[in-house]
Symmetry: D3
């Protein structure tokens, strides 16, 4: 099967790192195609960044509709553009925060999130509320590590994240850790070994959940708010991304 | 004072109609400047549309930061880009759904929302949950009237909305109606007369709430997630909308 | 327009101080008439005090129905008698806690309340739950300053409130402060300057929200539980405050 | 033991009827003393009525503090003045709505409330939320029977309440009925026989719960917001009801 | 009346201690019959233990159906088998956690739970959520005292529990303590004296609430999910515990 | 990898049917071993049945600990014994209700549950609340089809379930169906074809989620309430199922 892995920021090296983390867990036979938008912020650390990133995800799924994947993963912990992607593509779409929350809740009664910029904790909080994990998620903790700094994560940074996780586990009384940034994916195995509790990386979680959904033959519902977008003109640079009335859903 | 009224869709005639509704309630001395994005969908009736509209709002507030308004109103019932706008501009920013919910909750114990496309009810539902109006909002009802059809609303359409409102009041046992689309603003007065209960138009509500906040000398907090965006490169068409490190918040 | 400003306690000097705070923000053309009940506690710092204060508010709005105001503000952070006032008067009625919560939620993702007696925190908590601000209100903090002591607030007391606010902001991770007592209104400007975050005084907020609602031509709904009171005999000292069957709602 | 049974309205015949219902279930050795306030509405069917009733309860418990009962029951389904009573008296205080909800939740997974005026359903709803019975309480249904009409309840009225209960059970899928007015107490046994499900009258429930609490040697906590009222002057007709600093809590 | 007191663990000495605590508060005329299952763990301190304990409760109530009690108390703070017991027996069934929460919520706005093993706090938390006491229950605190160690509780252990309670009261700002284990019942009076706040033992609370419900003539509803179990074969050791189609509910 | 598939009821033919449904979706290399308890009810349709079933699951996982599987699925829509199983086994454990809810929430904004006996809807409701799916789950609908009748499901029964699903989709406005009984698993494909919306069978969902978790190298947390059970004596028939102090967790 084919997974489309979307990095909503425009840093190609991060796209590659995330793709590597995805391929490391993908089943034989699962092909991962990774892209990022043609526009937007180099990292997503504010609401302002996210507004562009969601449109970037919309762009990428619209283009992918021409040769649709079996499933799609949105690899930013804000899950930007998730609903738009579900309208456009038939195959399941998962956000990495969504996936990580689901998986963590199956392994422990309570989990803690360790993420990058403290100012983004509110965004994770809103996703927790939206997805229904308010009881499971015992705390959301920022480290104020810039997203792009994770690309060169050495021992000091790894230690910083590890300590934040230990503090979170103790303070929250939780049993598992969710890594709150796609850029932390490469650190997951090491952190798991050191912490001795399940550590969940949303990139890997989303890939395996996507394989599960496709294996079940399930696709996004077309009834209700995930029906295909309505056809209408778009203006400006977005003109070519309009949804056309003649467009049939791939395979449905 | 100056209010920036943002129509997140790209239909200029709708921008004008919304601006007229805004000016009709604005205090003497309140100047309304209305714009819409340079790109995006002609109306917002799906998650896909909204992903672009949020970026369009981000574009508009970024441009407005050069000559900042005293307050800003986002005139689409999904309140797209609200948080991004609060990061960029110092003056208060209100979404019309947000404003309408606040106002309705001051006039009745329970209110019902009557909106356009049924598929967008979920979006209003999420805002109700996000803003805390789950107890006050007793129901959200779609009429499946396309947003742009409201521009030519004649008696039949008015009657359709009126009947939907009566049904909602009876079914929900609520005491007020919230109009769920900026395009319904011109119909507010007539519906109020016919229904005999408070009918709240978010455009007008947001304008008056904006005047109230400015009158109180209050501005968006810069502590926490509404701090100004972080400076970083943006690529592609969005390049010029990057937030620069040297940019000082206007007046703060 | 005419605002009736009700001080639910019987301390006339406090009524005057609150009225001054109200007039300081009122628009030109807004006349503020301030009263307090003819009976009851000199301050409201317990449930027992509040039981009498709510009846005092009911007395005052009943008397005001003879020459009804355009809007009414109940100036005690417990919002006593709010629902009774909405049944009696046609113009909008706002409680200062209600108004402060609404306003603060438009300026920051999270706010903290700093109030007087710790024992009254539960009352504020119940209002937060009733109005739907459980997610926005991140903490309610008492200073154990008696309400009437605020009348002579000097630098030490101001400093005490300022420190409580700083502690609250840090502990709650919130972005704005709500002052939890009408008696704190005169301190709002100074606290805003010192804290560098929005500080919301409910008296001022309620006045401006009242102007907004009246400017929108909106009044309390008469459908449902805010319909006018039912006519019936009252006995004892309250005899003259009974609602009469022949009483028509002013202006409706 | 001695139970003080407070009828918050001023209809003495209703006080007697409620007292009879209380004595019918009281244990041998439990003496019921019933009073109503010296002022206020003859029935409680609106927020306005309730504002006076809460003060009436405060009056009555203040007077009772001179010769305190072992426990107190507030016999109005709005539980007016409950918190004030808990501050003033040492022995447990129960509201009849509170008691009925507690009892019903021990007998069925879901219960429905059948009450008098539809406009008061909101008041019951708020108590359900305050006490935590949102999951157990499956519906609140009004019959629009005036409270004082219950005093002459004949077969037609009994039939009306019975039908409302049957409809509620079916619509809500609940397993028990809570009678939403003290005036319905005399009808409880007959309704139980006819409906074949538990029917809970709050007056009887409160009396038995009061006996249970006193039997456990438990009294209201004096730590936190149920500490005794603070001493301060009261003015007007309420002057004599002020709490004095020298007043010691009876028996504690 | 006859109360069946079920100790869900298999430690007979604990059954006796719990029975003594129950008899100490029971009214004259209330006979307490105490049993424990014929199988299962000697104490309940994990989910694994509880799975067997719930079946043990089911065994005991099935046997008791031959000579049914007027009411039943399940004396383990996890309330295991509560719903099964309500299906089998007609008389009311109360769990001690359920009873303690109800009683504590009538005495204080907020209460704290002090229990045995920290790992069981999650179980208490789930009951708090199930019964609706999320607002009242301000904290759940473990002492890591093994359940069976309570049988020999001397001054050091008493002091440990007392300190845990004081810490909880301060940290949670609550007004009452709920003892989170049937084995703590004998310590209740001493803790009450020392702490100066209401301390609620669920065993005693359940006995008195059971007397109250029986005094009200109320029994578990047979409508909905508490209808009697369906008749069907059981296999293995449980064969004799099957519910038979010919079995009539005692007295209903 | 090896999946242990537990049928909590004692009907061997149902175990086989469920195992067939599991094997139909399992990946090559996934071996499914299916068992049922040695005791208990032939089907689970009441709280009483479930009390025994949970102990039956505990028995089976305890025995399996001797030769532990990589993952375990509990194939009854009440997810009985889920927490006990997580304490005993290291590999992930999933309940079929849990799995179905998770999967459905990834495919649609709202889903409806169609289950067997109406009296069991409350059990599903409690799981929805426990797992956090209160917003996603729009309704739970019973068909009153006995669990064992599903084994001979012919066209009439299939039609009955199909109609119940259509009614649920319309009434709830949801986009997906969750089948509320392991016995419905063989009907999933046909119902999907007929209904045109995603239909989720928890047995298949749990198998694929289990594969995903094992593929991620994740296991249940040992920190907090999912730590291994404490060693202690068990009496009666359960004696041999006690957890021993010398027992090391398999593979951890």
């Amino acid at each position: 099967m084919k997974i489309l892995l979307l990095n909503p920021n425009t840093t190609a090296s991060m796209t590659q790192a995330i793709a590597a983390a995805a391929r490391a867990v993908a089943a034989p036979g699962t092909e991962v195609r990774a892209t990022q938008p043609s526009f937007g912020p180099v990292s997503i650390e504010s609401h302002y960044d996210e507004a562009f990133a969601a449109a970037g995800v919309a762009e990428q799924v619209r283009l992918a509709a021409e040769d649709p994947p079996d499933a799609t993963v949105i690899a930013c912990f804000g899950d930007p553009g998730l609903d738009a992607a579900r309208e456009v593509l038939d195959g399941p779409v998962l956000g990495i925060a969504e996936a990580a929350f689901h998986v963590a809740s199956m392994l422990a009664t309570g989990f803690s999130v360790v993420t990058t910029m403290t100012r983004t904790c509110v965004m994770a909080e809103r996703l927790v509320q939206r997805y229904g994990f308010e009881r499971s998620c015992r705390g959301i903790h920022g480290t104020d590590i810039p997203v792009l700094a994770l690309e060169q994560a050495g021992e000091p940074m790894l230690r910083q994240i590890e300590e934040a996780a230990r503090t979170a586990l103790a303070r929250d009384g939780s049993g598992a850790i969710v890594l709150g940034c796609a850029g932390m994916a490469p650190l997951c195995a090491t952190l798991s070994d050191r912490l001795g509790v399940p550590v969940v990386d949303g990139v890997a979680a989303a890939v395996k959940l996507a394989e599960a959904l496709v294996g079940l033959g399930l696709r996004t519902s077309r009834r209700g708010d995930y029906a295909q977008p309505l056809a209408k003109p778009f203006t400006g640079w977005a003109q070519g991304l309009a949804w056309e009335a003649t467009r049939a859903a791939g395979g449905r």
